[in-house]
């Protein structure tokens, strides 16, 4: 499978104290560990099991993920921004790989 590609949508600017909506998507098969291949062998589980969003080093939102989340996991959540800074997004794969993305926001 190709390397998972994260996509993140954060507003470019916001007012101080505004609650903004963030949308994230990452391309990933999210192999559930329930499926079988053509020979009847179980395909081993390989999912993204954790997602975290930090703002200037502080956690904003995180989630623990089970195989029941669809392929190409999508998350939409909110963040309250008081100052300009950088959002950092982290996805952790079952095999230990970590996928990251960053997005800046300017507070006016």
């Amino acid at each position: 499978m190709a390397t998972p590609r994260p996509r993140v949508k954060v507003p470019k600017t916001a007012a101080a104290g505004e609650v903004i909506t963030i949308k994230t998507l990452i391309s990933h098969d999210m192999e559930s560990g329930q499926r079988k291949d053509s020979e009847g062998n179980t395909i081993p589980r390989k999912i993204i099991n954790k997602f975290t969003c930090d703002f200037n080093g502080q956690t904003v939102f995180s989630c623990d993920i089970d195989p029941a989340i669809s392929a190409n996991p999508y998350f939409e959540f909110n963040a309250k921004v008081a100052e300009s800074g950088t959002f950092k997004f982290t996805w952790v794969d079952d095999d230990g790989s970590v996928y990251e993305a960053e997005e800046k926001i300017e507070v006016k």
């Binding site: 609650v19 903004i20 559930s32 329930q34 499926r35 079988k36 703002f55 502080q58 956690t59 904003v60 939102f61 995180s62 989630c63 623990d64 993920i65 089970d66 195989p67 029941a68 989340i69 669809s70 392929a71 996991p73 999508y74 998350f75 939409e76 959540f77 909110n78 963040a79 309250k80």
Partner: protein, 152 residues
């Protein structure tokens, strides 16, 4: 009895549906008891009351069980005691009841999240919110699934 073409087609279609249903039932499926265990694991032994501030939004009918949109939100000031720590989503009829656990912080601003989940069959979806003061809220919705989404 003479079977005309239309009846024959109907019969074979019925047989195909039956076979598919049998096939889909093959993986172990979480039942209400397993879900109850999962709820208690999250809440520390409490079965939360159903009425509350938590809103769980799901489609009534999901055509494709592979991607079912699901939204949860709780009315909360997100500070002090009126703060949502986490929200768990559980699916009663999946091989494992756990779907996802969202964790919030005061920087979240609002206790709301949307994602997409897999549902193996028509079933109840449950959301439980854990508040900072130790109380829990629960909401439950039935989702009718046309095509299941758990492999097989």
């Amino acid at each position: 009895m003479k079977i005309n073409r239309r009846q024959a087609l109907g019969l074979s279609a019925g047989a195909a549906v039956f076979a598919a249903a049998g096939f889909r039932a093959a993986p172990a499926v979480a039942d209400a008891a397993a879900t109850e265990v999962a709820i208690k694991e999250f809440t520390g032994g409490i079965i939360p009351a159903e009425a509350g501030k938590l809103t769980l939004k799901t489609p009534e009918i999901a055509e494709n069980g592979n991607t079912v949109p699901v939204s949860v939100s709780v009315e909360s000031a997100m500070s002090g005691d009126d703060m949502v720590e986490s929200i768990a989503i559980l699916a009663e009829g999946n091989p494992n009841p756990g779907v996802v656990v969202f964790s919030f912080t005061p920087m979240s601003g609002a206790a709301a999240a949307t994602t997409r989940m897999r549902l193996a069959k028509t079933q109840n979806v449950i959301a439980i919110a854990k508040m900072a003061d130790g109380t829990f809220y629960m909401d439950k919705k039935e989702v009718k699934v046309t095509i299941g989404g758990c492999g097989g």
